[in-house]
Amino acid sequence: MQEEEIIAGLRARDRKTTEYLYEKYSRALFAVISRIITDQDIAEEVFHDAFIKITRKIDSYEESKGRLYTWMANICRNSAIDKLRSKEISQTTKTNTIDDFVFGLESQSGTMEQVEGIGVRELMNQLNEDQRFIIEYIYFQGYTHSELSEEFDIPLGTVKSRVRAALQVLKKNLERI
């Protein structure tokens, strides 16, 4: 299904389209949330609310302002960050790191999930120290770039160029899959 068809289907409150959307994106969108929120139950709760929000707010989505996935991922990411900063969760969970996350994936599925030959760990190992740091804080701990700059005293421009460098490495390696 093309993106326009999905959007039109969602706007028409069509069940099949919603199911298609779920099948196609739930894994990635849930990843956005569960990277930030380690507790599986809370992550599912956040995803439940975020997914419903996506289907209900589809009318306010404007195609001209960005692609569908970006819009959805941002809703999920923001919901997760909001949750992470709310009182009920901040005391109980530890900070999430790439290693914890990869370890979690490994221990859950028994063996490392391999997607056509390249694993998450392998992908992460392609990053240098600075890039790993950036991905860890932005993707796994829900920092914004300006928070990162302030907290670790890294100039804003440097954060920006490192975000870019890190995503370029991921992009390059994902293209090879």
């Binding site: 028409a12 069509d14 919603t18 779920y22 990635a28 849930f30 439940h48 920006k160 160029s161 995503l167």
Partner: protein
């Protein structure tokens, strides 16, 4: 504005992460509209973010899907009852008599085209692979260069910062020399000391390098005897190395100490000494 620079500014990534202000967002959207290259980069980045999320994700539990769809149930438009519209009458099939065409020559032509196309495909696949390899190598080179640039930038920022402090502060220069000492006659190291804000920098002018087991240690000698205020790297010549804070000192000196420094100086290995004027 240079499009490539714009792409490399990191703005597109932040756009996708939803971290730009409304004004900046609009700017990115306008730029992407005006320059297909920027739109392409945006799409490619989004694609790789999706691929990354997909790769690092595990599926939410099946119960969750049920729960979500239960919550959504009333949102869905009732599916319309299947229409009872009669199935369109199948068009009467006409059995036309088609004259036999000289199929053999067509088949021969077709297979020739197929062979040529395959050969071309193999050739271009090879070319593509080669180019792709080169491209990946180039990207990696570019990555390394970008990283280097970043490091240089950071170093520059640090140096600039120190220079600012040096110019703005009230620094006294204390020359430490090795002339009167047996260790290294031509040794020369300068201390820059701002007593008010208690900051000390050293700049190595001339100092022999040491073997692995030893370090140069800087001492501030005050009323209470010498206090170790840091290790001096003899390799970093003519740069400012920041030492620990000192409020009171009559002289500065450097000795050779076992790696990591000592609690009190080994006076036999005094290399340079300079009194605060």
């Amino acid at each position: 504005m240079n499009i490539q620079e714009y792409i490399e500014s990191g703005k597109l990534e932040l756009f996708l992460l939803g971290e730009l202000t409304e004004r900046e967002r609009e700017e990115v959207i306008a730029m992407a509209k005006a320059h297909p290259q920027i739109q392409e980069e945006l799409d490619a980045l989004e694609q790789s973010m999706f691929a990354f999320d997909e790769l690092t994700g595990k599926k939410p539990s099946p119960q969750l899907k049920e729960k979500i769809f239960a919550s959504l149930e009333e949102d869905f438009k009732k599916e319309e009852a299947p229409k009872k519209a009669p199935a369109p009458n199948p068009a009467p099939v006409e059995t036309k008599v088609v004259k036999l065409t000289p199929w053999k020559s067509f088949a021969a032509a077709a297979s020739l085209v197929a062979v040529l196309a395959s050969a071309a495909a193999i050739y271009f696949a090879g070319k593509f692979y080669e180019t792709d390899q080169k491209f990946t190598a180039l990207l990696q080179d570019q990555q390394v260069m970008a990283d280097n640039l970043n490091q240089v930038k950071l170093q520059y920022e640090e140096t600039d910062n120190r220079l600012d402090r040096l110019v703005a502060g009230d620094f006294r220069r204390v020359e430490m020399k090795g002339e009167a000492l047996p260790m290294q006659k031509d040794a020369k190291v300068d201390v820059f000391w701002d007593q008010k804000v208690q900051e000390v920098f050293v700049a190595v002018n001339n100092l022999n390098s040491l073997s692995e087991e030893f370090d140069y240690q800087l001492w501030a000698i005050g009323k209470d005897g010498p206090v170790g205020i840091g290790l001096v790297n003899p390799g970093e010549k003519f740069t400012l190395q920041q030492m620990q804070a000192v409020a009171e000192a009559g002289a500065f000196a450097i000795t050779i100490e076992p790696k990591g420094g000592s609690q009190s100086p080994t006076l036999e290995k005094l290399v340079v000494l300079g009194e605060v004027a």
